[in-house]
């Protein structure tokens, strides 16, 4: 893990780090691949050298991730003044070094090509770029006009913990405005409310590892519910316990990613969770099947299990209109089971959700707008025009407000309706702080100069605004936001500077005094009162979240459950699909009242037959009519509708929902029934999935906990190698056959080979390169399929995204999103394969199990790809890497044909060439490119390199320090990001490295070991915890 470096950004401005980029490291130059005769460019030095950077060597800044409310710690790697990679801060109490896919993709928000370059003013309905002075004057005049009714002004801010909400309330108070709305519509407000009432905190720390049984009522704690990275770390630790590990039961109408990680799924009818929770609390007999859709015997058994397995952990995250009641019942259940204090650590709360406004208040505010009571609205970091149900008609209410100010960085739906845009800096460019847990302050610092020089931090813009108003100016006298921030930091400016290297400090930020909620819940109609054959389950996309649709990494990242990319889909049960004659990819129409939504159907085992499910996050639309985006043009208009990638992609599931809240003011998603009809159209789903079944190939293997434990207890050769286990003959040292051959391990060299110069492959070669064998161990009992590693790999290795509509072939171009994906042209060096076991006929009611396998180049010791390459572009390096030399490759693709793992990817188009429409890194996305990794050209094969650039960097560092590499000194990008700690990388030939120990694990196996590929990736079998009776035992022989 790289050390955090003190930024020494010191003074109030970041001009000291102003950089003039060095040499030809510009993205454009890096993207050209050619021979030595290429044009020689200029060498541009610094004018004045910054004293804390070394050209060509990364500098690391500790900061805070702002992609969701949780406020994880991040370390930004910057090179020559640009942030190029985000990793978790290992010292941060929440994410402890891990970072999810959305956090990784913050960089594509920072370098988003559709970001506003500067302030804009709407004049007679058209947007004009403006000077800051003019824009601030316009906004100040608007505030003055609203002066009379200032008490009714509304500031909608994204929820964030830390000092900014306090600052904002101060600013509003200076004008006599009411405190702001702190909005996070993705947060589970029902759970927060129940937590507050039952445990006294908004979000307790959940201790999965001590639980004997985990029961989740739709709480998708791995999908973004709560502080999901922190929860995933704890959950993976719990699952890694080979003895007395917790069993996990998921209750809900749809099996989410979290549900797929459960040992048992109880598919109850939507809304029946309350009856089940009440029954588990010990009230009455098990509810009947027609009430819950579940066999009462299953519930009886679960209740018995709950009474014996102590402590347990019961969670509620349901999204029906009675979510508040379920959450309260579950909290009471936890109290009666004695879980509070043991598995629910309310003494160590996660404070990131403190001070959040109830969605009911937002709904109430919209009604006040509609009534014409609101004189002015400010919107920052929230997109209510998109994120609220269409039936609420936000745009109509918003139009009644005379003056609307947006602080958005992106051309989203709400901003399009505003009157002036004062674009905010990205979190990676600005100052801030957060309170992730009690007693710890996390700092957010600029990791680089602003990407666009003409963009300003909202806090500083607010100060500038206040200076225009004599009354407000007197109450806001701070010079700038950083000065104010350091003034309230423990130890002042000096304390702040001292805390920057680690990004953390002990202390407490005085929270804002949030106003007492006054808005009464506006109840949605009860689910039972709506008509339709299918209940619609709407769920937040685990990969996109609420704001990810403008980041191509996240659009290209397959949904962990269905493996669909670049667009919406409707999940229906295979039985339903058969009954209605719907095939995968058939367009279906969902209708609730007058609202309709059309999307392709995807049959999925994990929804009830009377349920259809659809994810939010897609379906951004522009109000204005825009010409088709032209990738090769530089004169495209503002890409309203949340940017070029998000606009018109998929559908917005919220279009079907009625307006309103649940009983605790939360925003319920599962509140309507819909009718389902086939429209007649059909598309090929852009999915990265080959087959959902293993067909006996033994790719993802599993073992029951009992079998594993029996092997442990009884010992002995046979028992420690359970059925289906790898023979360990190939494992020791994982030495590659090439090296082993050179070393005589595979037998004495034959006569003609004796005395032959084996070069670097000779273990006695002075460079001792053949003494290492880089290898990886992947623990499938830890892996949850979250796919953070995939995005980390994209970020580290300059992997292009290929699914944008304009990235199709030039001839016969059909501008379909994800077209290249349907042709199998995705470039994900690392993919998560997802396999189902059980329910082979696709019948509802049969238990099925899910296995996730991160699949990457296996770096075979005896690789099938190598001998078929006619130009030696791929070969086996002495240190165990299977190497792809881009500049040798002529693109025959023989290697890919011969690879049994299908982990080689071909550049069908010039994704790295700026003058092509397929260019994957339009300015300034190319600023993120890793200078240590070649941007591949058209016609070149590529694949996982085991992050060879990190290996070389570590070797170089060790050599400069005149030492050998220390065990576990570094890891790959995927291993660093993994919030499950499932991926361990290292030198398998050196027993001091963790990977060498894991390779000897009893659960270890190689995929397709029978092919004699001698892979360098060792998988550790998943461990299942089936019940004795309710669930069928997982297949004993996984092959």
């Amino acid at each position: 893990m790289p050390d955090a470096d003190n930024s020494k950004t010191g003074g109030p401005t970041v001009r000291r780090r102003e950089f003039l980029k060095v040499v030809g490291a510009s993205g454009a130059a890096a993207a050209t691949v050619g021979c030595t005769s290429e044009k020689v460019g200029k060498l541009i030095p610094y004018l004045v050298s910054p004293d804390e950077t070394v050209p060509g060597v990364s500098t690391y800044y500790a900061t805070t991730c702002r992609e969701c409310s949780a406020a994880c710690g991040a370390i930004a790697e910057t090179r020559d003044g640009r942030a190029i990679k985000l990793e978790g801060n290992p010292e941060h109490p929440l994410n402890r070094g891990a970072l999810c896919a959305r956090g990784q993709a913050a960089l594509q928000g920072l370098y988003n090509p559709d970001r506003f370059r500067g302030p804009m003013i709407k004049q007679n309905g058209t947007w004009k770029t403006a000077l800051w002075e003019d824009a601030i004057n316009v906004a100040a005049e608007g505030i003055t006009r609203a002066r009379a009714a200032a008490a009714n002004a509304v500031f909608i801010n994204q929820h964030e913990s830390g000092s900014f909400p306090v600052f904002l309330d101060q600013w509003l108070a200076a004008y006599g405005m009411r405190p702001h709305l702190s909005v996070d519509l993705d947060a589970d407000h029902a759970a927060i409310e129940a937590n507050r009432r039952a445990y006294g905190v908004a979000w307790p720390r959940l201790n999965f590892a001590d639980a004997k049984l985990i029961v989740s009522f739709g709480a998708d704690f791995l999908d973004g519910w709560g502080a999901s990275v922190a929860q995933q770390l704890d959950f993976a630790d719990a699952r890694a316990k080979l003895e007395n590990g917790p069993r996990f039961v998921y209750i809900g109408p749809r099996r989410s990613l979290t549900g797929l990680n459960a040992d048992q799924w109880i598919p109850c009818a939507p809304g029946a969770e309350l009856a089940i929770a009440n029954f588990l609390s010990g009230r009455g007999a098990a509810p009947a099947r027609d009430q819950t859709g579940v066999d009462p015997a299953v519930l009886d058994q679960l209740r018995t299990e709950l009474t014996t397995a102590k402590p347990s952990l019961v969670l509620s995250g349901v999204t029906t209109d009675n979510a508040g009641e379920v959450a309260a019942a579950v909290a009471a259940l936890n109290q009666s089971l004695g879980n509070v204090g043991t598995t629910i650590r309310n003494a160590e709360p996660i404070t990131a959700f403190d001070g959040m406004s109830s969605p009911a208040e937002l709904f109430d505010t919209v009604e006040r707008m509609r009534a014409g009571q609101v004189p002015i609205v400010f919107v920052r970091g929230v997109n209510p025009a998109y994120a609220l149900p269409k039936s609420l008609n936000f745009a109509e209410a918003f139009a009644k407000v005379p003056f609307k100010v947006s602080f958005s960085s992106y051309p989203d739906e709400t901003t399009e309706l505003c009157d002036v845009i004062l674009p905010d800096l990205h979190a990676l460019e600005s100052w801030g702080d957060a309170q992730p847990v009690r007693g710890t302050i996390a700092l957010q610092q600029p990791t680089m100069d602003p990407v666009f020089a003409n963009v300003r931090a909202s806090a500083d813009v607010l100060i500038a605004l206040a200076k225009k108003d004599p009354a407000a100016a007197g109450r806001l006298t701070m010079k700038d936001y950083r000065t104010w921030l350091s003034g309230r930091f423990p130890g002042g400016d000096r304390g702040l500077t001292a805390a920057l290297p680690h990004g953390l400090s002990a202390g407490t930020i005085a929270p804002r005094t949030a106003p007492t909620p006054t808005a009464a819940p506006r109840r949605v109609p009860a689910l039972t009162s709506t008509s339709g054959d299918y209940t619609l389950v709407v769920y937040p996309s685990p990969t996109l979240g609420g704001n990810g649709a403008n980041k191509p990494w996240l659009l290209e990242l397959p949904d962990p459950v269905t493996k669909v990319t670049w667009g919406s889909w409707v999940e229906i049960h295979p039985e339903t699909a058969t009954r209605l004659g719907i095939d995968r990819g058939d367009i279906v129409e969902l209708r609730a009242g007058n609202a309709t939504v059309r999307a392709p159907a995807v049959p999925y085992l994990g929804v009830r037959p009377d349920v259809v499910a659809i994810a939010t996050g897609y379906g951004h639309r522009a109000a204005a009519t825009l010409p088709k985006f032209d990738a090769k043009s530089t004169t495209n208009p503002i890409q309203w509708g949340y940017g070029r990638y998000a606009r018109n992609l998929g559908v917005n599931a919220l279009d079907l929902l009625p307006p309103g809240t649940g009983s605790t003011g939360e925003f319920p998603l599962t509140v309507t029934k819909v009718s389902l009809t086939r429209v007649g159209d059909h598309i090929t789903i852009p999915s990265t999935e080959g087959s959902a079944r293993q067909h006996g190939r033994g790719i993802a293997q599993a073992i029951n906990a009992d079998d594993l434990a029996r092997g442990l207890r009884e010992g002995g050769e046979h028992e420690t190698r359970p059925v289906g286990d790898a023979s360990h003959e190939y494992l020791p040292g994982l030495r590659s056959p090439v090296a082993a051959d050179a070393q005589g391990v595979l037998g004495a060299p034959s006569e003609p080979d004796q005395g032959k110069n084996k070069g670097l492959y000779d273990p006695n070669h002075p460079t001792r390169m053949a003494s290492r064998r880089w290898a990886m161990a992947i623990d499938l009992s830890r892996c949850t399929g979250c796919s953070a590693c995939v995005t980390a790999c994209y970020a580290e290795n300059n992997i292009p995204t290929v699914g944008a509509p304009w990235q199709n072939a030039t001839l016969f171009a059909t501008e379909t999103p994800g077209f290249n994906i349907t042709r199998g042209r995705e470039m994900s060096w690392l993919r998560i394969e997802r396999y189902f076991e059980g329910a082979d006929e696709g019948r509802f009611g049969e238990e099925f199990e899910t296995r996730f396998v991160p699949m990457l180049c296996q770096h075979c010791g005896n690789a099938p790809c190598e001998p078929v390459c006619p130009v030696y572009a791929t070969y086996h390096a002495p240190d165990g890497l299977n190497v792809q030399v881009y500049n040798r490759c002529v693109g025959t693709r023989y290697c890919s044909n011969n690879c049994p793992y299908k982990v080689r990817y071909f550049n069908w188009f010039g994704y790295g060439e700026p003058d092509r429409k397929q260019y994957a890194f339009p300015e300034p996305l190319n600023w993120q490119l890793n200078p240590d990794v070649t941007v591949r050209g058209k016609g070149v094969m590529e694949k996982c390199t085991f992050c060879v650039q990190r290996i070389r960097e570590a070797e170089n560092r060790a050599a400069l320090e005149h030492r050998e590499l220390a065990p576990d000194e570094f890891t790959t990008a995927c291993g660093a990001a993994c919030p499950s700690r499932a991926i361990i990388f290292g030198d398998a030939a050196d027993p001091q490295w963790t990977v060498a120990k894991l390779a000897q694990d009893r659960r270890a196996y190689h995929v397709f070991e029978e092919l004699n590929t001698y892979t360098a990736v060792v998988y550790l079998k998943k461990v299942n915890h089936p019940t004795s009776a309710a669930a069928p035992a997982a297949p004993a022989t996984p092959r």
Partner: protein, 247 residues
Amino acid sequence: MTKRRKWTAIPGLIALATAAILLSAYSGASSSQGSQPQQPINFPHTVHVQRLGMNCLYCHYTANKSPDPGLPAVSTCMGCHLIIGPTLNPAPGVRTAPYKSPELEKLVNYYKGGAGKPVPWVRIHKVPEYVHFPHMRHVNAGVTCQTCHGKIQEMPQVYQYSSLNMGWCVSCHVNGYSPQEGEVAAGYARGDSGVVTPAGAPQQPAAATSANAQLQPSSSTIAVGRQPAKNAAGRSIARYDCANCHY
């Protein structure tokens, strides 16, 4: 029939030969060795290095700690040239009266007191983007700058001394390198100064007092630990595996 068949082979052969010639012209002879572009400022390495004895690392300040050798910021130039301004004192044997240096005028105009523009130097040495060349490994292994760049201290205008082709790289990695050769390449009278002795066996620099010795990055503080790879003849050798540089 047979005759006609013979003739049909000829266009194919011609095409092949043309392709071969074109390919060889494109790949083999593609080095820009010897190129000596005109620079925006005629910076004399001769004066700075040979006459004043400045260390390479004074300006190319990251060559021993980064893959990138580092290019001096204009402020580094101005560190001295604030004092040694465009008006120069008479140089013995060259000029008799104080005179204006047009090159230094240019420098001052670029800098403009820290508010100007950087000097747009023309790049001479460049390896393709798919080659990763870590300067610091070479410098710390005792490879003198002049081994690859030629006797820069004697170049009034820098040119590309080596071919920078892959064969040129690999020959040294395979056959080995001896610091003595590097010293000779750097222009030492004898190849035994010891200043550039690589890690592991620090020696007292015997000829440290010579002006030329200052051309070399000092490695006398290197701690003993990891032994560098040496072949049977005692020459330092390095990996020549493809993925050492291409990734």
